[in-house]
């Protein structure tokens, strides 16, 4: 059995480890901490700027989507969609048409796949919407949402505040805290009882994403039925429920399928000094007691970009890849890294490793540095994921392609 170590426990790493164990490999997943999904909207952004199925084939050859190939994206998405369906967290959508979902600011988020409880807020459906916040929750402002959606010409009825049957909290609740309440049957009954009379005449209601963590599907469907209207969720400030639900689903699935998950240690790569052509021999984990070596036939890096430490941006103007010090494609000199305004495209977001169509990191000569080293997700150079609206899609496609190339 081929032994593979996947480094990085975000969407990309979790998916890669699942793809790998599905193909019969013996998989160890090492994750420094939890991360990207907790911050995200839980949707799969493939190409936010236009219809994905049409746009992707027109991208330049060096774009991660082109390198991974259209089939990788399609198959990876299908796999993910099936997985979520089986785990009772269905995802709706496809790459032929983006969903148009309202954000917590009242702007519009275009995405290819979204969990059902969010997808029901698709604005291509003209049914007028009411947006509601909940008392005591400081991470959602329905009036602002409504004002901005109206500006965009969306049919909105109203903004309102709904109470929750909770005793006075001793600290401000996060979305997580409210979601745990919604996991409780009695709580849901109470909520339905209190909300229903305030919602007469409403056909479609949008609330912040707080409807359950452990049983979100159940909570959402039950409430929808009780209230007698279409009910959808809007993701808001981290910790974000839709992202957490997906993370939980993937972590459990990975473990169920036999992935050996090691949470906690930082990782350094190990090179097989004598091998020609060059190979990595495994990784060294910085565990509580010290270094522990893990040998593997294949190593896959899914360590992300700047945010979670895959790339380290140093004061001296250098950008370093954190596991094996692989050559990074970037602009030398700090003054080049950031743009003047926070909302514009940032040069640093494009930096990363150059890879080939097998997702192998390349050296200056354009050849793979190590024959058994692969890479996927945010660590790959050549895409402004925030600007393009492509973050999760690139993760899915490159994770699929990397495993296919490594084990296929």
């Amino acid at each position: 059995m081929t032994e593979i170590v996947v480094v990085g426990g975000g969407l990309t790493g979790l998916l890669a480890s699942i793809f790998a164990v599905d193909r019969g490999a013996k998989v160890t997943l090492v994750a420094r901490g939890r991360g990207g999904l907790t911050l995200s909207h839980g949707c799969i952004d493939v190409w936010g700027k236009a219809t994905p199925s049409r746009a992707l084939s027109r991208l330049r050859m060096s774009h991660p989507y082109r390198l991974a190939g259209a089939e990788s994206l399609r198959t990876g998405l299908e796999f993910l969609r099936d997985l979520c369906h089986q785990a009772d967290l269905p995802y709706i959508g496809n790459i032929s048409r983006n969903l148009r979902l309202p954000t917590a600011l009242g702007t519009i988020h275009t995405s290819a796949l979204a969990p059902k409880s969010l997808a029901l807020g698709d604005l291509r459906d003209n049914t007028p919407i009411t947006i509601a916040g909940v008392d005591g929750f400081r991470d959602f402002y329905p009036e602002l949402v409504v004002a901005n959606l109206l500006k965009a010409g969306i049919a909105i009825n109203d903004a309102l505040q709904l109470p929750l049957p909770l005793s006075a909290a001793r600290r401000d609740p996060y979305a997580m805290d409210l979601a745990r309440s919604f996991d409780d049957q009695h709580f849901r009954d109470e909520v339905a009882r209190i909300w229903k009379p305030r919602l007469s005449g409403i056909k479609r209601l949008g609330v912040p994403a707080i409807l359950g963590l452990f049983n979100p599907q159940l909570a959402h469907e039950e409430l929808q039925e009780r209230l007698g209207m279409a009910l959808f969720e809007i993701p808001t400030l981290p910790p974000s429920l839709p992202g957490l639900r997906l993370e939980r689903l993937l972590q459990r699935k990975a473990m169920e399928m036999g992935v050996f998950v090691i949470e906690g240690p930082k990782v350094l790569g190990r090179v097989d000094g004598s091998a020609k052509p060059a190979r990595v021999s495994g990784v060294v984990l910085q565990t509580a007691g010290g270094g522990r070596t893990l040998t593997a036939d294949i190593v896959l890096l899914a360590t992300g970009g700047v945010l979670h430490g895959g790339l380290v941006f140093q004061q001296n103007g250098r950008v370093q890849e954190s596991v094996l010090d692989l050559p990074v494609s970037y602009d030398e000199g700090r003054q080049h890294w950031t743009a003047y305004s926070p909302l514009e495209t940032q040069p640093y977001a494009n930096y990363g490793l150059r890879v080939n169509e097998q997702m192998q990191p390349l050296g200056a000569d354009g050849l793979p540095i190590y024959t058994n080293l692969f890479c996927a997700g945010g660590l790959i150079a050549g895409a402004d994921r925030s600007g393009e609206g492509s973050r999760q899609g690139i993760g899915v496609a490159t994770a699929y392609r990397a495993i296919e190339a490594a084990l296929g």
């Binding site: 991360g35 001793r170 981290p238 910790p239 090691i262 949470e263 007691g289």
Partner: protein, 408 residues
Amino acid sequence: MIRPDLTTDQCLKCNICTSACPVASVSDDFLGPKAVGPQAARYRYPHRPPSVPSLTWCSGCGICSLVCPHGVAVAEINIQAKAEIEKRRKTYLRDYLISRPELLGRLASPIASLANKSLSSRPMRWLLEKSLAISSNAPLPTFASQSLRTRLRSKCVDTPPDPGLESDQMVAFFHGCSSNYYEPDLGILAVTILEQLGQSVIIPPQKCCGLPLQSNGLLTAARRYAQANISWLAPFARRGIPIVGTSTSCTLSLKHDYRVILGLQDDESNIVASSTFDFFEFLTHQLADEIDQLDFKPLIADVIYHPPCQLRSHGIGFPALKILERIPGLQIRLSESDCCGVAGTYGIKQEKSLVAYNVGRTIFEQAKQSEVDFVLSDSETCRWWIAKHTGLPVYHPLEIMAKAMDIV
């Protein structure tokens, strides 16, 4: 020099730790690890440290540090801050006593059956709750009449033996208080397994690891215990003899807490740390070949494995699973809870017992609903706590391994 307080600046306020905190998820008395940790640290001045009462709700489970993607030592910061509060007030008699399981063991062992009988009597438990605020519901361990060291006297040594052909396969066993005074049979099983795998087991001089003292903020005393253990164990470590323990809390102290929380950082503590192994970590890492040769007897049972929060903090994953998975007929489910709630001595305190119970409710309910035969956990306090609250037998995974190896 690793100093937790120097990691506070790495906090990006993402709240991933708060979302994963088992205590914050059931109690809003606890502001959350971020709020009382790196956030409050900005307001802690040496001449005027604020008292943050909420901090005492932290159970020290360590999940926050584990999930932080930015390297903030949240749990360690909180444990040190709690100790600062302790320093400024008188220690309760209760905390003094429950922090010293070795002392209690030594006193009660000669009168074991009397001690056990009286501690299990209702009136006595009522009295303990009223006078010392030890929850009458909390499971207290039973004392063995003969300690492990007494029964395995011949294996006890003061210094490492002279180097010879033997030392290649020699193991120094760290029994901890539980395997010495409370569950010596477990210790004997561990030793037997190691011997069957070709190891020669010796028992070095040692005392209580000191973790209960640390958890109760009594760092000065904890440091004394730590220094003693380091001095005794370092010669063994220097000789290349691995130190193996069956209690994940003890081994975490040796690997990590001594250096990072108690601040004892030098060559001796470093070599002890890097030579310490959790029992299953040792088996799967150092004795992988011998394990491969083993033939396991079938054991038909449906079980839940609950990895203790302390084991997670080792950063080695759940090595027991690698062995348990090989036992034919054993159906293993993973606990749905990151923490069972007892967190060492936290759950037996009367004022904490409700929160501790609520933290563990997930695993208690999971055990009841999935109708499992028994539960497995590597930490003694977890075992006693889960057994008490589910009514199910709870074993150390090594007991199951022993059974499958036909060691009775």
